[in-house]
């Protein structure tokens, strides 16, 4: 980089508390927001976790009533959002506490949108379509990866159409995020690893985005560095490492929420919609090909990332074309992935490619990819990935 990017940029972040026991501030914030009754959005797995009782106790200790809505599944659907919004209004809630992974937080955002603005959630799919700010939203993320607790994004699935669609608005940035590493320790292995992958992709895409700024660069690069330093196949069982990944995910979230993402996410959303597979994992599957496509558009940044991975670009000058493969190898190594299956192995057929291409082209994340692809470029990538 020869100088700072002086293009107009904005940075929006929620108020957040980090550290052990941060989740216990949920009740105090509810009171500070003068909430009488909150909708407690979570999922059936989280509901069984013991750490949740501290969140609930903090709510009741502060004299706030709550109504539980726990029928949220992975890749939350428009129907779940509408059901939650109905519970919100019929039980007289005036705020939301969301405790869970990205799916729970995204669903909570959808509920908030409908609760305040009415109508159907599908009417808000797109950019800047939220007229009235949603009720206060307090997040207790249970994974380190989605960064839905700090981002302006919500991903909502339409199962009948097998699509994943984005709602993007600065007003979707939650009011408070309580980043407590304790909930991470109860995660299943696959969820823990794949969400850390999501965080890493957020950091890389945000850092290399054509919408990045000196502020987001700092968060993005630091995030990459922290993930590399703290990531190990069993990180979430180690309080030090899990806290490191949590902060890295926070940095990644602050980076991508303000700088935008890129083609990896556009393709990952298309794949996730069609197959329902885990978002972090589908991002990993397409990352190498997208890095290859983007490499020349922002060589300095990609080489900086390679350097962070220990791919010594100064002593041993690898060809640019070699870097994506090397980065991919390093990622697999630190994440403990033994293989990177082709898309055909996860059920994608060649016949699905035109549909995937169209969905990728329509995904808004593509706008901040460092190199703007045309449909043919994307088609080639999908075919290569099969």
């Amino acid at each position: 980089m020869t100088g700072y990017n002086r293009a107009l940029r904005k940075f929006v972040s929620p108020e957040f508390i980090t550290g052990d026991g941060a989740r216990e501030f949920a009740g105090r914030y509810s009171l500070n927001f003068n909430l009488k009754k909150v909708l407690f959005v979570t999922d059936p797995n989280i509901e069984k976790c013991s750490w949740l009782s501290h969140v609930i106790d903090s709510i009741t200790d502060n004299g706030v009533e709550y109504e539980v809505f726990s029928s949220v599944t992975e890749n939350p659907s428009v129907d779940e959002v509408m059901e939650g919004a109905d519970v919100f209004s019929t039980t007289g809630c005036d705020g939301i506490i969301a405790a869970g992974g990205g799916s729970v937080l995204d669903c909570a955002k959808g509920i908030g949108i409908v609760a305040e603005n009415g109508g159907h959630i599908s009417g808000y799919i797109g950019l800047d379509l939220i007229k009235n700010p949603m009720p206060p939203l307090i997040c207790v993320p249970s994974t380190a990866g989605s960064s839905a607790d700090v981002s302006q994004y919500a991903v909502i699935s339409d199962r009948s159409r097998r699509t994943k669609r984005l709602i993007v608005s600065k007003s979707l940035v939650p009011d408070v995020s309580l980043l407590d590493p304790v909930p991470l320790s109860t995660l299943p292995r696959e969820v823990a690893v794949n969400s850390a992958m999501d965080a890493l992709i957020h950091a890389i895409e945000g850092y290399c985005s054509n919408g990045s700024s000196p502020v987001t660069d700092t968060f993005g690069l630091n995030s990459v560095e922290m993930i590399i330093r703290n990531m190990s196949p069993g990180y979430w069982k180690d309080p030090e490492r899990s806290f490191g990944i949590m902060i890295a995910s926070l940095y990644a979230g602050l980076c991508f929420s303000n700088a935008g993402l890129g083609l990896i996410h556009s393709m990952s959303h298309a794949l996730g919609g069609l197959t329902g597979m885990n978002h972090g994992y589908s991002s990993f599957l397409v990352a190498r090909e997208v890095l290859e496509f983007n490499m020349d558009a922002h060589l300095v940044k990609y080489r900086t990332i390679a350097l962070k991975f220990g791919i010594d670009c100064k002593e041993k000058r690898y060809e640019n074309s070699e870097l994506p493969g090397l980065i991919n190898e390093k990622i697999m190594d630190i994440f403990g992935y033994e293989e990177r299956p082709g898309l055909a192995d996860v059920g994608i057929l060649e016949d699905d490619v035109p549909e995937l291409v169209q969905r990728t082209m329509e995904d808004p994340c593509i706008a901040t990819n460092p190199r703007l692809p045309v449909a043919e470029d994307i088609k080639k990538m999908y075919l290569d990935l099969l």
Partner: protein
């Protein structure tokens, strides 16, 4: 970043980066401001309506809010109203302070006549609409009081007018009965009530079916009454009511009340004309007798005039001197007879009028006795003057 012309994602990216027209951090201020303005606008409406509005906390009855009209009409300052108990200002129609608890026991929404303590006018009569509602954990009572001073004055005027009209109706000796389109009574007067009792022998019910009344009295046996009742026009008939050996003659006049081209009500004026009818018959008899006498008198005139002329001629021939002497007397007799002739001619007019008007008899000869019995029994006139 490339400019908008070359970059298909320019606008999209602008929004993603939070630089779109409506991309800004979540803030409640604009929405709150908008809602505040809406509330302020509503407050203006509340302040300027003519009704007095109070918001009362329940059950303590403390005034927590009020509109501008409240302090204007009550002639009080804000601090004299706020945090005071509503019972200091609102009284029921017996003058006792209104108890919110008693009101709530009656229902969630009640309308009462009450009075409001008013500095300038003492007590202002109001119609108070009390509605209890829950807001959060609190129960409130919204009271909207409408000044009904004018309405009460109007009601009084209507009552006075009603009373005058009632008195007038009652003062009429004819029976008055107002019926609706299905023949049910709406109002009737005392004279009708007497008639009803007299003709049916029963106490008058609150609501009368006029066709039952006609049946009970035998009036419906005549087709005339049906024609009259079925008609949309005004009209009148004369009917007879037989009560054992007594007979009443009544005249029924119907005046329909038409509203917006619909026949909604009818006024029936029922007049007992038994006495008039009997008197008419008697008068007719007298006149008939007079007529006969006058005819006899005309014959008598001719019978006087002819011998008198013969007498005058005979005397003039036989004794002209005597004729000159008696001629003035003969002339005088002639004059008297001529005057009687003129009187006869004039009485001819009277006689034809009698024929015209008394040509149809209401009562048959044999009914007159029963009618007189009726009149005697019910003292409808001076009984001593009637002796058939």
């Amino acid at each position: 970043m490339k400019d908008a012309e070359n970059d298909p994602y320019y606008e999209l990216r602008k929004k993603l980066l939070g630089l779109g027209d409506s991309s800004f951090r979540k803030t409640y201020y604009p929405v709150l401001r908008h809602k505040q303005m809406e509330l302020e606008r509503f407050r203006i409406i509340l302040d300027h309506i003519n009704d007095i509005v109070f918001l009362i906390s329940y059950p303590d009855g403390i005034i927590v809010d009020y509109n501008l009209r409240a302090i204007e009409k009550l002639g009080l300052k804000p601090h004299e109203v706020i945090s005071r108990e509503i019972s200091a200002f609102l009284f029921d129609d017996l003058g006792k302070p209104v108890s919110l608890k008693a009101m709530k026991d009656k229902g969630e929404r009640i309308l009462i006549r009450a009075e409001i303590a008013c500095r300038s006018c003492g007590k202002m009569p109001v119609e108070a609409d009390l509605s209890f509602t829950k807001y959060g954990d609190e129960i409130y009572c919204a009271i909207v009081c409408r000044d009904i001073t004018e309405r009460i004055q109007m009601e009084r005027l209507i009552l006075d007018s009603e009373s005058q009209y009632r008195t007038t109706i009652e003062a009429i000796t004819d029976g008055i009965l107002v019926i609706n389109s299905s023949g049910r009574s709406i109002i009737y007067n005392e004279a009708f009530r007497d008639m009803y009792i007299r003709f049916t022998g029963e106490e008058i019910p609150e609501k009368i079916d006029v066709s039952d009344f006609f049946k009970q009295t035998g009036l419906s046996e005549s087709g005339d009454i049906h024609a009259l009742m079925d008609s949309m026009d005004s009209g009148e008939i004369i009917g007879k009511v037989l009560l054992d050996d007594k007979m009443a003659v009544i005249e029924i006049k119907k005046i329909p009340i038409i509203h917006e081209f619909r026949h909604e009500q009818s006024v029936l004026i029922i007049r007992d004309i038994t006495l008039n009818s009997v008197l008419d018959e008697l008068r007719k008899d007298v006149l008939y007798q007079l007529n006969r006498n006058m005819e006899q008198f005309a014959i008598l005139n001719d019978e006087i005039r002819n011998p008198l002329q013969a007498l005058s001629g005979t005397v003039e021939l036989k004794n002209p001197a005597l004729a000159g002497e008696i001629q003035p007397f003969i002339n005088e007799i002639n004059m008297i007879v001529r005057r009687l002739d003129i009187g006869w001619l004039e009485s001819e007019k009277v006689r034809s009028m009698i024929k015209r008007h008394y040509g149809v008899s209401v009562l048959e000869k044999d009914e007159i006795r029963d009618a007189v019995h009726y009149i005697r029994e019910f003292r409808l006139g001076d009984e001593n003057t009637i002796n058939p």
